[in-house]
């Protein structure tokens, strides 16, 4: 079960993730890739032409993956490390990077599943180094006035409803 601890991403991590996703998209022949948190929030995406609704996709993929993990436990399996859905035109592949991050890959029927799996597994090894590596001290902190400014924004958002 995931413990509640912060996932904070800095510029360097995101740049490396974006580069990696772009390469993975090219070599694997996939159409859309996204890194999301296991609690269902998108981190970054790589896509040329296909733009699904990322927020809903992240929420549903993370929930499906979490359900899959529980199925594994019920079946006395240590873990199911990926989730795969095959469609008539599109396939969805969700795999775990670490305790807090999942990788979503969608690809068409013209792309071989094995190819996607192979390159995705290689990419995950690099992604783990990005997310699990030591803090390089470049992560900024929140603006000290964030709380008061957010409070004002919340009042504004809800004032006319």
């Amino acid at each position: 079960m995931a413990r509640r601890k912060g996932l904070v991403i800095n510029d360097r991590q995101l740049d490396r993730c974006d580069d990696l996703l772009q390469k993975l998209k090219e070599v694997s022949g996939s159409s859309f890739l996204a890194l999301i948190s296991t609690s269902g929030q998108p981190i970054t995406t790589a896509s040329d032409t296909y733009h699904p609704e990322t927020l809903s996709l992240a929420s549903l993929a993370a929930s499906s993956f979490a359900a899959t993990q529980q199925l594994a436990r019920i079946l006395d399996e240590n873990e199911f490390t990926l989730l795969f859905h095959e469609g008539s035109a599109l396939n969805l592949h969700v795999s775990q990077v670490n305790e807090q991050v999942l990788l979503i890959v969608t690809f068409g029927r013209e792309t071989q599943v094995g190819k996607v799996r192979l390159y995705t597994q290689r990419a995950i090894e690099v992604l783990r180094q990005i997310f699990d590596g030591p803090d390089d001290g470049t992560t900024p902190t929140m603006d000290a006035d964030f709380e008061s400014s957010a409070g004002t924004a919340i009042d504004d958002l809800f004032k006319d409803v």
Partner: protein, 192 residues
């Protein structure tokens, strides 16, 4: 703790509506979806049974806009209230920053409220969460109906943490946004 993406200048908080079956969790989300500025919300996703009872969760993303350079979002979820869906409730609670416990104020629903309330804390504790960092509000719903507990009585029965309490009639929208406002401010204050 929320997902803070400094590189993309984004911060996302997860808020979960919890409570027994038919207490009004989905009704809260449907009202928010109907009434809030459409530009500030995404699609309402519901995984429900044919009888429109929540099977897994409802999901509604809200965008607060850019605050101090950070695009700030709240991801609202409900859980299935029926007791036999506890495995699903645990999954929805993963990574939660704030909980709205929706209590059905009707006297006849006391047992279900208490069971759900205890179940919530069981599930949170089993995740090993630092509960001091969790936003928490109790929404006393269905105040428009007859034969309901007084706020004082319900508070004594359900609020062992001394958390903020709101009153609502979610079906007509009363108190829905007041409750959400309280928990949104809490999660920002508690998680920074």
């Amino acid at each position: 703790m929320p997902l803070i993406n400094f590189a993309a200048r984004e911060i996302n908080y997860k808020i979960v509506y919890y409570g027994c079956g038919l207490c009004g969790k989905t009704t809260n989300l449907q009202y928010i979806h109907r009434k809030i500025n459409p530009e500030a919300r995404g699609k309402l996703v519901s995984i429900a049974t044919e009888e429109e009872r929540t099977l897994y969760f409802d999901f509604l993303p809200l965008t607060l806009g850019t605050v101090k350079g950070m695009q700030t979002r709240f991801h609202l979820y409900t859980v299935p209230g029926q007791s036999y869906y506890n495995a699903s409730r645990k999954l929805v609670l993963q990574g939660v920053d704030g909980v709205i416990f929706v209590a059905d104020s009707q006297i006849t629903r006391l047992d279900e409220n208490v069971e759900s309330y205890l179940n919530l804390w069981d599930n949170l504790l089993s995740q090993g969460d630092d509960l001091s960092k969790l936003g928490f509000v109790i929404q006393m719903n269905k105040r428009d109906l007859g034969d309901v507990f007084s706020v004082e009585d319900l508070n004594e029965l359900l609020n062992h943490t001394g958390s903020p309490v709101t009153e609502s009639s979610a079906v007509i929208g009363e108190g829905v946004f007041d409750t959400l406002k309280v928990v949104c401010k809490q999660v920002i204050a508690k998680t920074g």
